[in-house]
């Protein structure tokens, strides 16, 4: 599913250049549950942004689902993000003026083909994450755990092959965080979705099939899987 070869990412130029990632080599097979751990500033989020097609300014190779991401045009990369990847962020990234249903259906706006019944699909995925009763609630009316479930439902909306989660439990209490983790594990197990989670707390994850540890942009654990 994911194949990285000598992946490096440098910000800035000349003497002020900072390397966020250095020579990462990694393979994550389809259906794997991977965690990326490391201290703050170790390059976890940078790696996730590259895998998600949000950052193409890297050196080396980054292939996802058989495609070299840097070779894609902006339009192709946008379609890749819309169809292949589902993002989950630490801060949920929900739009406050939209209901849970509208937030979840947001990716449909950028699909190349018309979704036949976008709201039915949104209701379906919200029910899947246990929020079938809160379709018309606004983010301000939901708890942190519920907001993260809405964000996960949004990530699932386009039936992605890969979910990239950036510290999805970082803003939640331990109990709620555990619920969210088991939801990811369930999605991985039942829907065969490849999940890559950036986290500080990998001990919470029980079914990890691939673990990567980064320090100062270097891969210190997790040789090619």
């Amino acid at each position: 599913m994911i194949r990285l070869r000598n992946l490096s990412r440098v910000y800035g130029q000349g003497p002020s250049a900072t390397a966020a990632l250095r020579d990462i080599c990694l393979e994550i097979p389809e259906g794997a549950f991977a965690t990326v751990v490391g201290t703050s500033g170790s390059g976890k989020t940078t790696l996730l942004n590259i895998l998600g097609g949000l950052d193409s300014g890297y050196l080396g190779e980054a292939q996802v689902a058989g495609r070299e991401l840097r070779a894609l045009t902006d339009r192709e990369r946008s379609a890749y993000r819309n169809e292949t990847v589902g993002f989950v962020f630490q801060h949920f990234a929900l739009l406050e003026h939209l209901t849970a249903l509208q937030n979840v259906a947001l990716p449909a706006f950028f699909a190349n083909a018309r979704e036949p019944a976008p709201e039915r699909r949104a209701a379906e995925v919200l029910a899947r994450v246990g929020l079938g009763e809160r379709l018309h609630s606004y983010p301000g009316q939901l708890s942190g755990g519920q907001k993260q479930r809405v964000a996960i439902a949004r990530a699932l909306y386009r039936r992605p092959r890969l979910i990239l989660a950036d510290e999805p439990t970082g803003n939640l209490d331990t109990a709620t965080g555990a619920q969210i983790i088991s939801l990811f594990e369930e999605l991985n197990r039942e829907d065969q979705i490849t999940v890559v989670v950036v986290t500080h707390e990998d001990f919470l994850f029980k079914n990890v099939t691939c673990k990567v540890r980064l320090e100062d942009g270097r891969q210190v654990e997790g040789a090619p899987c």
């Binding site: 989020t45 940078t46 942004n49 998600g52 949000l54 950052d55 902006d74 339009r75 990369r77 946008s78 379609a79 993000r81 819309n82 169809e83 993002f87 962020f89 990234a93 739009l95 003026h97 939209l98 509208q102 947001l106 990716p107 449909a108 706006f109 950028f110 699909a111 018309r114 949004r154 386009r158």
Partner: protein, 451 residues
């Protein structure tokens, strides 16, 4: 992004930012409404000039004999029967309407006290004529030298509303037409100042025949022979009538010229109106006429063009001010979009993460600007039209009568509606262009991580 999706997304965003955007689009509304107002005012005044003050007909020419000082040297000739035949034979000429000036002197003397009780009674029935006006009519004393000419009745037959415009039998009143422009000046100034009834087509059937003395002058001693008393009946107002005189049927003028000025005067014309089959023929016919030794009377056309040019320049000046207002509004739109962009940075990053391309983000901002442009443009159009309507009502009520005072000071050319909307759209686009480019260029990874 599909258009239907774009429309829905724009709707959501506009609803969210409606206050900021409404405030930013005030300038567009004001600019477009003043643009509509000034263009409509210019077009309205232009319409008065071209239809009432200097009415022009695109496919007609007025031919005159070449001026005397150069006439003999450059082959000038009088307009006689042969010249009329030559005109008719020019390719592209559809009709020739000769005009003959009276070659003798004439005068009129009107005394209000001579009006018969029956004539006064008849005038009383005219709507708008008051008892005070009738008193003023009784006080009228007018002695006038009369200039006159005769025209082909086909040229002005439709203008005769109070009798037939044709050569009358001997002893019957001579039907005459008066210049619309002259009557407009009389109505707007003289009648107003003296409390006299205004002359209109409605009044003419009630007017009695007026005295006319042929072969007579109050000022010139060159009259030979005895004066001949006659009567004239004003049968209509026409733009083809002589300004400051009377215009009678051509055959009447010919008959009177023969009687008082001789046979040659009965076959010499002062000018001729030529009608061409289409305006494409104007150039070639003018060329041919000059070749035949005649001139074209372009004085009215030149005057109309000068006045038209002046009105156009003034209108352009005011329109430019309106466009400057819209331009300033575009800067305000740009400022608002930059502000919104700053607030929505993370949101744009999220949209990119969910699959929006750079083009989608740019189109989203430009579509929002289009919606603002269309809404503000429509509001500006309506406001401008309302201002025109209000001004017309106020001007009709409070502005005193003056010559050529129109019923409406405004005219709306067809292009003004799409034109004003296009201006609003273009300026909103211009305002949103830079923010849209900036939004499209945002690095989604950086905005999502707050870098």
């Amino acid at each position: 992004m599909l258009t239907s999706h774009l429309v829905r997304l724009v709707g959501q965003n506009l609803r969210r930012n409606r206050k900021n955007l409404a405030f930013a689009s005030v300038g567009i509304v004001v600019g477009i409404s003043s643009f509509v107002f000034f263009i409509a005012l210019g077009a309205g005044v232009q319409r008065v000039v071209s239809t009432q003050i200097f009415p022009m007909e695109a496919n007609r020419l007025q031919v005159v004999p070449r001026s005397i000082e150069f006439g003999s040297a450059t082959g000038g000739r009088p307009i006689d029967e042969q010249a009329l035949s030559d005109f008719a034979a020019i390719p592209g000429v559809a009709a020739v309407y000769p005009r003959m000036r009276l070659a003798f002197l004439a005068s009129t003397a009107v005394d209000g006290r001579d009006l018969s009780p029956a004539a006064v009674d008849l005038l009383r029935r005219v709507p708008g004529v008051t008892a005070r006006m009738l008193e003023a009519v009784r006080d009228v004393r007018v002695w006038l030298e009369i200039m006159g000419d005769g025209i082909d009745p086909r040229l002005a037959a439709a203008d005769a509303v109070a009798g037939e415009f044709a050569d009358p039998p001997e002893g019957e009143p001579i039907p005459v037409l008066l210049s619309r422009r002259m009557i407009e000046i009389y109505n707007g100034s003289f009648a107003e100042a003296r409390g006299l009834p205004k002359v209109s087509e409605m009044l003419l059937p009630f007017l009695p025949p007026l005295p006319l003395t042929l072969n007579h002058s109050f000022i010139s001693r060159e009259v030979r022979g005895a004066p001949a008393p006659a009567r004239m009946k004003v049968v209509g107002l026409s733009r083809h009538a002589l300004m400051g005189g009377i215009t009678m049927p051509l055959e009447t003028a010919r008959r009177l010229n023969r009687r008082f000025a001789g046979e040659a005067a009965a076959h010499t014309y002062s000018s001729a109106v030529l009608e061409v089959t289409s305006s494409d023929w104007l150039g070639p016919v003018q060329e041919r006429l000059r070749g035949l030794g005649f001139d074209l009377d372009m004085s009215e056309k030149r005057m109309a063009e000068s006045v038209g040019m002046f009105i156009t320049l003034v209108t352009l000046g005011f329109s430019l001010i309106s466009l400057i207002i819209v331009g300033i509004a575009a800067v305000s739109i740009a400022h608002t979009f930059f502000m919104i962009l700053y607030e929505r940075k993370r949101e744009i990053g999220l949209l990119r993460a969910l699959g929006a391309s750079k083009g989608d983000v740019r189109n989203l901002i430009l579509a929002e600007a289009s919606a603002i442009g269309l809404t503000a443009g429509t509001a500006g159009l309506l406001l401008g039209a309302l201002a025109c309507l209000l001004s017309d009502t106020l001007l009709a009520r409070f502005l005193p009568d003056f010559p050529f005072k129109p019923e409406s000071f405004f005219a709306f050319p067809v292009w003004i509606f799409p034109g004003a909307l296009a201006f609003a759209l273009i300026f909103c686009w211009l305002g949103a262009l830079l923010p849209a480019r900036r939004a499209a260029a945002l690095d989604p990874a950086a905005t999502l991580t707050g870098r």
